[in-house]
């Protein structure tokens, strides 16, 4: 399939194919998408691994992420600095985990990171409240929000510390029938 592409070396494409759920064609397509977000910043030649990071403001305006209430959290969870600046590696990583092929455990790990707003490795009540407000655009009354959060924690918390650790979260998610079909983005 002799494609005369000069963006990546063959070795790099092999590495991407091993480390993500994408094929070579899809990696090249992703690079095209990454490039068109900021054509003057992103070089067309990635053979020497340039250190280019796009700011989070550009990434959250992508059509795939624009309507997502958690877009800033998603981008932050995949960035190395936690601020949402994604290099191409992080970009590919993000869409790989969110693709259809990623297994449930991997998605659960990242879902936990996304919903953990204060990054303390627990989903506490405040995290849940923020999640809920983003989901319903603050159209629920505060008592309803409170009730829902309490009920959700009560359902999922196994070890009784009134916040969800990763084990609780994963246990609950492993039984959710539609987690895999909702937690995916097509690009």
């Amino acid at each position: 399939m002799g494609n005369k592409q000069t963006i990546f070396t063959d070795e790099q494409l092999d590495a991407y194919q091993d480390c993500t759920f994408f094929t070579r064609k899809e990696i090249l397509r992703l690079h095209g998408r990454y490039h068109e977000l900021a054509p003057h910043l992103v070089p067309m030649d990635y053979t020497n691994d340039p250190d280019v990071k796009l700011p989070s403001a550009l990434i959250v305006n992508m059509p795939e992420l624009k309507e997502n209430p958690f877009r800033s959290r998603i981008v932050e969870s995949f960035s190395e600095d936690g601020e949402g600046n994604l290099s191409f590696n992080d970009f590919v990583d993000m869409f790989s985990v969110l693709s259809e092929m990623a297994p449930r455990e991997l998605k659960a790990i990242y879902a936990f990171k996304i919903y953990d707003f204060n990054t303390d490795n627990f989903i506490c009540k405040e995290d849940l409240e923020k999640t809920l407000n983003r989901l319903t655009r603050e159209e629920l009354t505060p008592e309803e929000v409170n009730l829902v959060c309490e009920k959700a924690i009560e359902e999922a918390d196994l070890d009784g510390d009134s916040k969800l650790s990763f084990a609780d979260f994963e246990n609950m998610i492993s039984r959710a029938p539609d987690f895999l079909s909702t937690f995916h983005i097509r690009i």
Binding site: C19, D81, G82, N89, E105, N121, T136
Partner: protein, 771 residues
């Protein structure tokens, strides 16, 4: 921790850790969990960390080894060194455990590779010297080496370095091993490509994706169910064509006239007479032919076709039902996770259009409000049962309404009986009236099935149940209505069928008429009811009556019941009208496009999101009920009625099983004896007993497991309470120890700074062991 000065050593800590304004040496080993630090000065060494890590305003040397994802470095002195060669067996094993999880048909490995998080014990030598070489044995806590790279929750850079390490390992293993491994990887990649290609071949993928985005998962579930029925009918038609149609076509009787004859007209298409009666559509076309030997005769092949078709359908439908049911049933009420599922799995990340996003927001809000309503309703019920008089009144009301439902059902059954009797009587002269009379049973059944569910809906509103229970009760009543009306029709057809020739043909014609009319009703409903309603609502927005009526919404449960009903009719009629599977296939194809038109042009999205996944269990279960009804009807027919003497494949025998008897007689005697044993009661009864024993053992095992789960949950709660208590105690002890530590702090700090930079000191602290 705040404002600590002096040395600090910790080992094997788990859990959150916060520190502020530290000065002095800091060593930590084997920490898992969150870590925050601010304004630290002085040396800092850490090893084998996992979990999030934040540091701010640090000055001084900093070394870390084996960090796992989540490093946030805010203004750190750039002395960061990430070291840690990896030692150990590297094996990129293939993905094990394909699991089909319904709508997501990707490759999922939920098999034995559950070693994603290794919370570690610290591996490595305890006695370390001063100048330790970086490459030496300090196996960084890493993930299960059998896990493919893609499944690791690391950043791309880390995955690449892991990959390089694994490749290096591979080089040091013999060429046989590396060849085997490369083969395995190539096979896995090929398999993934095949799966991807097959997923891409599925019919109507794009349309279903659009429907899911615009109308939600419940509506998509209906169309997925339709596609499943299409595949089922395709399988049926292939079996019938291969086993029954081909022998009949090859051995056609030369004397019967073919094609259009004198008295035929287009009406024959609707009535099943004339040229259609002589075509392969009906039972009489299939002659009893001996192909080669008594064991390869067309009646036997016909029986084989029907039997294999039904058995395959049973297996497929049961399998689908059980897969979905396992999720909901075995967990019981203690695992009702509705609220958490709504919050964490409620948002569809695929949404791209603003309108759809708005819709999803309102869906979620409504669903959450509904769930809260149910909670409040449950509390209200708990209060209500205390007043005996209210309870008595409620039960009386419910009894009355159930009686009303039974009366309605009885009335509709009587109507069907009346229609059957009229249609089997003498036909009027004019062709329009005779067409109407012939079609009276299907018309009655369809009208009854159309009107009564709405009545049931309004009746259940008065019975004071929570909303989901109301919906469920209406569904159950509608299912009973549809299946029972068909059963009653078949029963009265039995009684009243009188035909000089071929009663099977007559029966087949009735089934054919049912299918045709169902199809016509679907089309007429779309054109005469839904489309005008939408036009009216749009052209007269001010009229209050029309506004109250509103645009049509796509009612998923009732549409699904229609599909199940037509599939049941197909199964019953397949024996007497062998091409019914092909007709059904064509009909489903056209119905898909009709419903798609209704959905996209006429309907607006419902405000309540129908829980898609739970309902697919319901759909398949209803389909199973329909299949069982069809099986019972066919078995009764086979046993009670004799096949006609002059038409069809079984014309030469007294019963259907003469053909099989003829074949069995040609087998050797031991086989004959075995066969007669297997078909006798002496075999059936012990079989049933054995099945009952198995069932009982499984049920008791399930109950024991449930009790074990409850006990384990209690143990978990106790252990975590213990852990919190111990952590609190340790913090108190540390605070008490602080004055004594800070006294020797300056000496310690200098001491540690002189020691080896890789920080391999045995630590003093008591580790807080996680239970």
């Amino acid at each position: 921790m705040r404002g600590h000065t002096g040395a600090f050593k910790m080992r094997g800590h788990t859990g959150a850790f916060k520190m502020r304004g530290r000065t002095g040496a800091f060593k930590m080993r084997g920490h898992t969990g969150a870590f925050k630090m601010r304004g630290h000065t002085g040396a800092f060494k850490m090893r084998g960390r996992t979990g999030a890590f934040k540091m701010r305003g640090h000055t001084g040397a900093f070394k870390m080894r084996g960090l796992n994802r989540g490093l946030q470095d805010e203004g750190l002195n750039r002395g960061l060194q990430d070291e840690g060669p990896y030692r150990g067996l590297q094996d990129e094993g293939p993905n094990r455990g394909l699991q089909d999880e319904g709508p997501n048909r990707g490759l999922q490995d939920e098999g034995p590779n559950r070693g994603l998080q290794e919370e570690g014990t610290y591996k490595g030598q305890q006695s370390e010297g001063l100048h330790r070489h970086e490459q030496e044995v300090f196996p960084v806590r890493d993930w299960d080496p059998n896990l493919p790279l893609k499944n690791l929750p690391l950043s791309m850079q880390e995955k690449r370095s892991t990959r390089d390490r694994r490749q290096q390992q591979r080089l040091s293993i013999g060429c046989w091993e590396s060849w085997r491994r490369s083969q395995r990887i190539a096979r896995r990649r090929l398999w993934e490509q095949v799966v991807r290609a097959m997923c891409g071949l599925q019919l109507w993928r794009k349309t279903l994706h659009t429907i899911e985005g615009k109308f939600g998962m419940g509506v998509k579930a209906y169309f997925t169910f339709l596609r499943y029925l299409l595949y089922l009918n395709l399988m049926h038609s292939v079996l019938m064509s291969g086993l029954a149609l081909t022998p009949a076509l090859l051995n056609r009787d030369e004397h019967t006239p073919r094609g259009f004859q004198g008295n035929d007209s287009v009406l024959d298409l609707l009535l099943g007479t004339g040229f259609l009666q002589r075509s392969p559509v009906f039972y009489s076309f299939y002659p009893p032919v001996l192909l080669s030997g008594p064991c390869l005769s067309s009646p036997l092949l016909f029986l084989l076709a029907i039997a294999s078709l039904l058995i395959l359908s049973v297996i497929m439908v049961v399998r689908r039902t059980v897969i979905g049911y396992k999720h909901t049933w075995m967990l019981g009420s203690s695992y009702n996770h509705h609220m958490s599922y709504e919050v964490f799995c409620g948002w569809d990340f695929c949404t791209q259009e603003p309108k759809t996003a708005l819709l999803q927001h309102s869906f979620l809000r409504n669903d959450l409000k509904l769930a809260l309503e149910e909670e409040r309703f449950h509390q209200h019920v708990a209060q209500r049962t205390h007043v005996a008089q209210q309870r008595a009144r409620l039960y009386f009301l419910r009894g009355l309404l159930n009686f009303l439902v039974i009366v309605l059902l009885g009335g509709s059954f009587y109507l069907i009986y009346y229609a059957t009797v009229i249609s089997q009587g003498e036909k009027p002269v004019s062709w329009i009236l005779s067409l109407l009379v012939e079609y009276l049973p299907p018309i009655t059944i369809t009208m009854v099935n159309f009107l009564l569910p709405y009545l049931f809906c309004s009746i259940s509103g008065f019975e004071d149940y929570s909303l989901t229970v109301q919906v469920n009760i209406t569904l159950v009543r509608s299912i009973i209505l549809k299946l029972a009306s068909l059963a009653i029709f078949l029963f009265f057809l039995h009684r009243n069928i009188k035909s000089a020739q071929c009663w099977e043909n007559q029966f087949g014609k009735e089934m054919y008429k049912l299918v045709v009319f169902d199809f016509l009703a679907c089309g007429l409903n779309a054109v005469l009811v839904e489309w005008p309603r939408k036009l009216l609502v749009e052209s007269y927005p001010s009229c209050s009556l029309l506004r109250a009526l509103g645009k049509p919404t796509f009612l998923v449960p009732f549409n699904v019941l229609d599909l199940v009903y037509s599939q049941t009719v197909t199964w019953v009629g397949l024996f007497y009208c062998p091409l019914l599977a092909h007709i059904s296939l064509l009909k489903l194809l056209i119905v898909f496009y009709i419903k798609k038109f209704v959905l996209f042009r006429c309907c607006e999205p419902a405000q309540r999101m129908f829980r898609g996944c739970q309902s697919s269990v319901l759909f398949h279960f209803t389909l199973l009920l329909g299949l069982l009804t069809a099986l019972v009807a066919l078995v009764i027919n086979a046993n009670i009625l004799q096949p006609s003497r002059d038409c069809g494949p079984f014309a030469h025998g007294d019963s259907l099983f003469n053909a099989t008897a003829a074949c069995v007689e040609t087998l050797p005697p031991p086989a004959q004896r075995a066969f007669s044993y297997f078909t006798s009661e002496a075999f059936a009864l012990p079989l049933i007993l054995v099945e009952i024993v198995f069932l009982t053992s499984f049920v008791s095992q399930g109950r024991a497991n449930r009790r074990a789960i409850d006990r384990l949950k209690d143990i978990l709660v106790m252990c975590s309470a213990d852990k919190r208590f111990l952590v609190g105690k340790q913090a108190a002890c540390l605070r008490a120890l602080q004055p004594s530590v800070s006294a020797g702090s300056s000496g310690d700090a200098r001491h540690t700074e002189r020691k080896d930079p890789s920080g391999c000191q045995p630590f003093f602290a008591r580790s807080v062991s996680a239970p």
